[in-house]
């Protein structure tokens, strides 16, 4: 009986405690930079698309909400011809970000993406592409990759030496 009265009093005292509620549209909860929210496609420091259309994100996606088609420009640089994320299926697991070898696909702390029309949740490349580099600054895949593309031959990347003619060594 005394325990019950004590419990009632303890609960009553909660009337004077700080509220746990965050009144949403006016105040928002803090989202850490690593919060897994709306997915974006980033650009490298030169302002070009980072995505090289390797399909790894699409393969890693557990709900198959990423669809893309790879293409190559005249310099040999790969890019996605279309890149489509169906956010009505996306579960924001972040596997695509982990799978991406070029830091192209990234999750952001934005979560306010409700729509009245379900079809509007299908984001195309122009909806996904942002102007900046996202969370990883200064990274440019083609500058550190060994492949040659137009304007950059083999061995001209960062921390690279000109290729050695292995046949010449035999002389």
């Amino acid at each position: 009986m005394i325990a019950l009265v004590k419990a009632l009093w303890a609960v009553f005292l909660h009337a004077f405690k700080k509220r746990a509620t965050i009144e949403y549209p006016e105040n928002k909860a803090y989202c850490a930079p690593r919060w897994r929210g709306r997915i974006v496609l980033t650009r490298d420091p030169d302002g070009k698309e980072r995505c090289v259309g390797c399909y790894l994100c699409s393969a890693a996606c557990p709900v198959s909400c990423i669809a893309l088609q790879c293409a190559e420009d005249e310099t040999g640089r790969r890019y996605p011809k279309f890149f489509r994320i169906n956010f009505s299926r996306c579960i924001f697991c972040g596997y695509c970000e982990e799978a991406c070898p070029t830091y192209a696909i990234q999750l952001t702390p934005d979560y306010e993406m409700s729509e009245y029309n379900r079809q509007n949740l299908v984001y195309e490349k122009e909806d996904l592409l942002i102007r900046g580099q996202g969370k990883y600054h200064g990274y440019n895949f083609y500058r550190v990759a060994g492949v040659s593309i137009g304007g950059k031959g083999k061995g001209e990347g960062e921390n690279e030496q000109p290729p050695i003619d292995v046949r010449g060594l035999a002389d």
Partner: protein, 319 residues
């Protein structure tokens, strides 16, 4: 003629006030529960969220009013009406202030006990007519619980009747001029409070409902305004029991400075809030625990209370 007019005005006023209070409880209970759970509760619609009441009423009125094909239709429809009728009828004998009473019955308290016993029919009929398992289990529990608490609820109030020497609620209030009955009848108050929880089927004694065991208990199959009547009927029941506690144990309208009705409202609102606080705090006992507690502890306790009160009243020369 003017007597009739006064009567009609009183009835309309009491009905209006009680139903307003009950529907405000839709909002009030959620705000109070939120207050004690470190939340805010509904505060968006209208000032302080008060228009939530209107929003909920509109919502529940526009819902499909569906009777399951397997249900016993006439009984199914009748059940929610009975609970509203009996609880609202009980307000007829409650005196809200000096002279503000619909029916100044000389057996007012007995009338309340009769009506509360009738109210259980509603729950049992609802559970039975629903013709499915969870409502039936809820109705069984309601019937069993009724046997458990109805006896000691009546007995716990007899102490008050002895002290006041009357079943009339107005005379019971007037008998508390020198001392509220919550002091000499503290045991009776505690027992009646527990019976009140069972009577209104509120947590901690909401065994006929037990939403985590029996879906929604006896009103599982109900929807639309029929469910709304059970819902509002429960709140009317809370207001009823709170006002009865006020009348029987806390001096009704008696109090300094303020007019009687205001005192009555303050006291009643206090007990309504206490009901919500208990819901926020206490856990539900198991079914057999409630039964054995009722029969083995509260019934003997109320009998002892009755004997002691009778002895004291007799020793002081009786009434």
């Amino acid at each position: 003629m003017s007597d009739t007019l006064v009567m009609v005005c009183t009835i309309a006023g009491v009905l209006g006030a009680v139903l307003t209070a009950a529907s405000l409880l839709i909002w009030g209970e959620r705000r109070l529960l939120a207050l004690w759970q470190d939340r805010l509760g509904p505060n968006r619609v209208g000032p302080l969220g008060l228009a939530q009441v209107a929003a909920d009423v509109i919502k529940i009125l526009t819902k499909e009013d569906w009777v399951p094909p397997f249900a016993d239709k006439p009984v199914f429809v009748l059940a929610p009406m009975i609970i509203m009728t009996t609880t609202l009828l009980s307000f007829a004998v409650i005196c809200f202030g000096p002279g503000i009473v619909v029916a100044d019955l000389n057996v007012g308290l007995l009338f309340f006990l009769a009506m509360s016993a009738m109210g259980v029919y509603s729950v049992v009929m609802a559970g039975w007519a629903s013709n499915s398992k969870y409502p039936l289990l809820g109705a069984l529990r309601a019937a069993g619980q009724m046997f458990g608490y109805e006896v000691f609820m009546g007995l716990s109030l007899m102490g008050v009747v002895m002290c006041a020497g009357s079943f009339n609620l107005r005379e019971i209030v007037l008998a508390q001029r020198s001392l509220w009955f919550c002091v000499p009848q503290a045991a009776g108050l505690a027992i009646f409070l527990i019976a009140g929880f069972a009577e209104t089927r509120r947590l901690p004694l909401d065994l006929p409902e037990t939403e985590n065991e029996l879906v929604a208990g006896y009103h599982t199959e109900y929807s639309g305004m029929k469910f709304g009547m059970f819902y509002v009927g429960e709140y009317v029941g809370i207001v009823l029991v709170s006002s009865l506690i006020t009348v029987l144990f806390f001096g009704g309208w008696l109090g300094p400075w303020l007019p009687g009705v205001v005192w009555f409202c303050i006291k009643t609102v206090f007990f309504v809030c206490f009901f919500v606080l208990c819901r926020a705090t206490l856990m539900r006992p198991r079914y057999d625990q409630l039964m054995s507690f009722g029969w083995k502890v509260l019934l003997p306790l109320s009998l002892v209370n009755l004997l002691v009160t009778a002895a004291v009243v007799l020793a002081r020369g009786g009434r």
